[in-house]
């Protein structure tokens, strides 16, 4: 296949489907060949999924996980975007806060779990706090670098038309940095989804992460474990695809190379 040729319509679906089918086959036969008693085959995972859907607990778990992500991610965006803008805009803020942020940033939110439990006890708040931590730093970093990457030409045009510094921030710097901020938000949403599952395995007793750990602990139901894992993957993908739709909005599309 010529890599420059535009793939035919059927090829767009055929090859990915083939890859998925091969993966399932490999999984299926590995289970048979190794004669494992623990790890489930794709068919038993499918049955487990059907069982979860029948029992209706699944929707509550999905809802709980999504709610924790929404609150934690939302708070991170609400605090992180203004902070990032300030970091990029005022050199003093950058100078003062950057060392602290750079030390906190590489700490995995997982390492915060004991601290989160001390702060908030076992429960929703601890899980939401972990999601917040995971989402916060990518948002701050992207917003700050978004601002410092705004071409001087735009700021100068803003000054030339008589805008005050606050107006320049609102009408020039923010819209100019928005595509980069959106990239940061998208990364943060992915991290938030990773973190909520980890948090739910320890800090709460609902949600998809809890479903994974509970299925293992109560009767070693590895078919349910893998079913929950697959669901986590699919919902994560759906969140990412949903978020990418924002990149198509006309006032930010210039920053995303969608142009033909």
């Amino acid at each position: 296949m010529n890599s420059l040729a535009k793939p035919a319509r059927w090829e767009k679906f055929f090859w990915p489907l083939l890859a998925a089918a091969l993966f399932l086959a490999l999984w299926h036969y590995s289970v048979i060949w190794t004669a494992t008693k623990v790890f489930p085959s794709p068919l038993s995972v499918e049955k487990a999924l059907a069982e979860l859907l029948r029992k209706h607990v699944l929707w509550a778990d999905i809802g709980d996980s999504l709610r924790r992500v929404a609150i934690g991610f939302g708070t991170a965006a609400f605090v992180g975007i203004p902070l990032g803008l300030a970091l990029g805009w005022y050199p003093v803020v950058q100078q003062v806060l950057n060392p602290v942020l750079q030390i906190l940033r590489p700490i995995s939110p997982i390492a915060w779990i004991p601290v989160a439990i001390i702060f908030f006890g076992i429960g929703d708040h601890a899980a939401v706090f972990l999601v917040f931590l995971g989402a916060f730093f990518p948002i701050v970093v992207a917003s700050a670098s978004g601002v410092s990457n705004v071409p001087t030409i735009f700021r100068r045009a803003g000054r030339n038309f008589g805008l005050s510094p606050a107006q320049i921030l609102a009408k020039v710097v923010f819209p100019a940095a928005l595509p980069q901020i959106l990239i940061g938000l998208r990364i943060a949403l992915g991290v938030a989804w990773l973190v909520v599952v980890a948090g739910e395995m320890i800090a709460v007793d609902s949600g998809l992460g809890y479903l994974v750990i509970d299925s293992r602990n109560s009767g070693k139901r590895y078919d349910l474990v893998v079913a929950a894992m697959l669901l986590i993957g699919l919902i994560g993908l759906a969140l990412d695809i949903g978020f990418r739709l924002i990149e198509r909005i006309r006032s930010v599309r210039w920053g995303f190379g969608h142009e033909s």
Partner: protein, 260 residues
């Protein structure tokens, strides 16, 4: 008008550059970029600044525009010392000066937030017509050609009703045919609107075709080497003997007469 040049009185002067010098500090060494620049520009005059690349043409333009304050000397407009950028005089950049997150309308209306909605829309409609972008009011810059983007930038500048337009090699990034068309367009606009124009270019033809007077700068540190009055009425026939005479004269002044 031809004789007015020699009898310029103080009242005719729109912009006066007096003993302007500019010294930059680069890696601890001071580099002199402009040296004792003196220039009087009349109201409504079209001035081209030419000179070897890197000589300080843009620096001089930025000093006139108030974006840089000179190390010595002063720039006065209507006998008022220039202390910073001002919407009464707008700088048009070489490229990427329009805001990619705003439509054509949004860009033209950028500096008009103080007007009422009806006034604003009238002004926008007027300048959309003037730069011939009708039908593109709701398009984004990424959908416009290079020439259209520059027309948009000129429209955005004119919309705030400035006395002076500073153009920093505005057609330098365009192909040669578009460049010719843009010169005609700019002349047409200048003849209807009669603003004072200071136009930086490294294109000899552009200077001879457009300017009332061409200011020739020497290589760094830039001094005014010569001021040529082009006393051919517009529109100029660019293959006429007088035109070519002026062109040769200018080439000679720059020291390139027999080398290109």
């Amino acid at each position: 008008m031809g004789t007015a040049a020699s009898t310029t009185t103080a009242s005719d002067v729109k912009l006066r550059v007096e003993h302007v010098g500019m010294v930059f500090d680069r890696d601890g060494k001071s580099v002199s970029v402009l040296e004792d620049i003196n220039l009087d520009v009349r109201d409504g005059e079209f001035i081209c600044l030419v000179g070897p690349s890197g000589c300080g043409k843009s620096t001089l333009l930025n000093v006139m525009g108030g974006f840089l304050s000179p190390t010595s000397g002063s720039v006065t407009i209507d006998r008022e010392v220039v202390r910073g950028p001002d919407p009464r005089r707008i700088l048009v950049f070489q490229e990427r000066g329009v805001f990619p997150w705003l439509t054509v309308e949004g860009n033209i209306g950028f500096g008009l937030s103080k007007l009422s909605a009806t006034e604003r829309n009238e002004r926008i409609a007027h300048y959309v017509q003037m730069v011939r972008l009708h039908g593109f009011e709701h398009s984004y810059p990424s959908d416009l050609s290079g020439g259209m983007k520059q027309r948009l930038q000129v429209a955005r500048a004119l919309a705030v009703n400035p006395d002076i337009l500073y153009l920093d090699e505005p057609f330098g990034a365009l192909d040669s045919i578009t460049r010719l068309i843009m010169r005609e367009e700019l002349l047409r606009i200048w003849q209807t609107e009669r603003r004072t124009i200071i136009f930086v270019t490294h294109d000899i033809d552009e200077a001879v075709q457009l300017a009332d007077r061409v200011v020739v700068l020497s290589s760094r540190p830039a001094k005014i080497q010569d001021v040529l009055t082009i006393d051919i009425p517009q529109p100029r026939n660019i293959s006429s003997a007088r035109y070519l005479e002026h062109r040769d004269d200018l080439l000679k002044k720059i020291g390139l007469a027999y080398t290109v």
